[in-house]
Amino acid sequence: MATPLSTKERMQIARVHMPEQDPCLRACNFSEVNLGLGEALAIQEAQRCLECKNQPCVTGCPVGVRIPEFITRVAAGDFSGAAEILRADNALPATTGRVCPQETQCEEVCVRGKKGEPVGIGWLERFVADWASEHMAPPQPPPERTGRKVCIVGAGPGGLTAAGELARMGHAVTVFEALHDTGGVLRYGIPEFRLPKSIVDREVENLRSLGVAIECNVIVGKTITVDQILQEFDACFIANGAGLPVFLDVPGENFKGVYSANEYLTRVNLMGAYRADAATPVARGSTTVVFGGGNVAMDAVRTARRMGSQRAIIAYRRTRAEMPARLEEIKHAEEEGIEFMFLVAPLEIFGDDKGWVRAVRLQRMELGEPDASGRRRPVPVPGSEFELPCELAIVAIGTRANPLLSNACPGLKLNKWGNIEIDDNGMTSIPGVFAGGDIVRGGATVILAMGDGKKAAGGIDRYLRELSPNSKAA
């Protein structure tokens, strides 16, 4: 094992490069783009960490991963020690290491980023999590049981995190998931080439070995109500996401070949339409236009490229600087030949005589005054309309709260957008019912949903301790 390096020596190490699939190859397959760091590269990258006393990076992480602690162990080649720390702090490290917008979280505040490049915290996290899944036994449930039963609604990152935390505290946890498979957006939204589904399976398997029971095909609000859940369980955590697609509200939106990103990605990811043996079809076209500039738009356009579109185009109302997508996704998209049209907004979608989309009419925009979000508002440029021929159009301009659950639960206090309101402990207006993730925040991120899950688990644990001893588990 190497002797500890001096700060000066550490400062001289440059950030490693993530090995990637060649852009020309990967634009035609669904295998993961990033290949992961090997042990040597991981150790090298870990040695760049300065082990700062005040640990600014940790405050940048919504679940408070003890970043320098685990990285120090990686630097020392103690991967299982690193994994123990990660597993204790983060229920889905193989996932967050891949999909967290690190540049606006842990890595944004990393001291090394002040002069040069931050430590590749996400890449190291991914490395450790992948290493652990190959070399370590899955985590085991704690021997001490509390006798309390908790129900989790939704098997997305928010729900799975809460489930893991609560199971580790010794509660009996059951997850109800509406779809036929787990993972939420991790499964149906984020494509295989960014987050292999075998990783989601593995993370879910880890939760199962912690004793978490997962029941799919249970739609809370339809199959069972929150009231009924409270008769069976001592507490409940709602993390049903924000899965209601928003459409453009322009003429022609119901032509064939116009998809919401949710539908397009669900067909390809959850239903496997990219595989030859899947029954679920998806329309293809030589030119695809995707409206939006976030991660969802980036996933949709890169998927369309892989599904055979020679031209796969992002049409975004603002400029590159305002795009909310992860930096790495934008970079990867550019390398894969995705075209970017900035400062354009759709006015109308045209169809052919068979009802298939054949073109979209766009209008050029310019940036005006900042809006409520602080980003400069796009303003239409009169007379700048033009037509862009295409065979597929995908709408990725956002989602809203799905009212299926809340409609069947009148006691649940919502805000004006239909998102669930919670207090500082994560509890809703109904005692014992907690909520978090996209259903509370609107569309956010994996790690924020996980942070909510972790916080709510703490809130639920305190709530259960204050309950009278006779549990529903009896």
Partner: protein, 274 residues
């Protein structure tokens, strides 16, 4: 896993299946459906819950393609991997008095629970069922159990009146003693559209149950969207039943053909000449 208790072929390619699904059976209201998914390579298939009792649900399934064929091939004693539901809004039942229920093809299966709920709700139900020929006429006896009258039409005249369901509907509408105050129609889009056009001039309230292509059935994908009075509605949550006089049937028909046509388009798109 959901245990199949019964599976009988009641007409050519039409199966009646009884499946154990206690939670769904308990929550189900008439007009609602389930989505069945048989395995990792399968589609999600929406099917109306014809009946729910004692922890079981009854389905009538016409095997029209791979997905439905896979489902009906599961014998009694076998298991269905995924059943999600009950989905969709319940039928809005009120006392209309005299109603006519019209079912075409496998739409008759969707019609059955609707007609029964109307009869249970105190309405005087006349049922018209239509099909290409006699073997395609399904659920006649089941519907007769609560209908005042069941009228059958076949295109080739091999059973009942020769012609379409609209032939009988016209007769009922023209007979002051049998004229309905509401019409419920379920079947192929052209049939529902024809019924809507027939009742529109007379202003007879007409409800149809729509069957667009679905994926999740929970409002997540928007694939099932239909235009109702120019507004986008998701059939899986806002429907499947809608006011027939407000539905854009042409668009619905076109969208239903998406995947019949999509493969031709794809091959045209990827050929070097294109």
């Amino acid at each position: 896993m959901f245990r199949v208790l019964e599976n009988d072929e009641i007409a050519p390619k039409v199966h009646r299946m009884v499946v154990e699904a206690p939670r769904i059976a308990r929550a189900r209201q008439p007009g609602q459906f389930v989505i069945i998914h048989c395995g990792p390579q399968s589609e999600r298939i929406p099917l109306t819950i014809a009946d729910a009792r004692n922890g079981t649900i009854t389905l009538f399934i016409q095997a029209v393609g791979d997905g439905t064929r896979e489902i009906v091939s599961i014998p009694a004693g076998g298991d269905i991997r995924d059943i999600a539901g009950p989905l969709g809004s319940a039928t809005h039942i009120k006392a209309w008095g005299r109603v006519v229920c019209v079912g075409g093809g496998v739409g008759t299966a969707v019609l059955y629970p609707l007609a029964k709920a109307l009869a249970d709700g105190g309405n005087d139900v006349t049922t018209i069922i239509g099909g290409r020929s006699a073997p395609f006429i399904i659920l006649r006896d089941e519907l007769a159990a609560f209908s005042k009258e069941v009228l059958v039409t076949t295109e080739d005249g091999s059973m009942g009146t020769k012609g379409f369901v609209t032939t009988e509907l016209r007769r009922l509408m023209d007979d002051p003693a049998r004229r309905p105050s509401a019409v419920f129609a379920v079947g192929p889009v052209p049939m529902m559209s024809a019924v809507a056009e027939m009742t529109r001039p007379d202003g007879i309230e007409t409800i149809v149950s729509l069957n667009p292509i679905m994926v999740d059935g929970t409002g997540m994908c928007g694939g099932c969207r239909v235009s109702v009075e120019g507004e986008i509605k998701f059939a899986c949550v806002d429907g499947p039943e809608f006011d027939a006089h407000k539905v854009d049937f042409r668009e619905l028909q076109s969208r239903q053909n998406t995947y019949k046509e999509a493969c031709c388009r794809a091959s045209a798109a990827s050929s070097p000449a294109a």
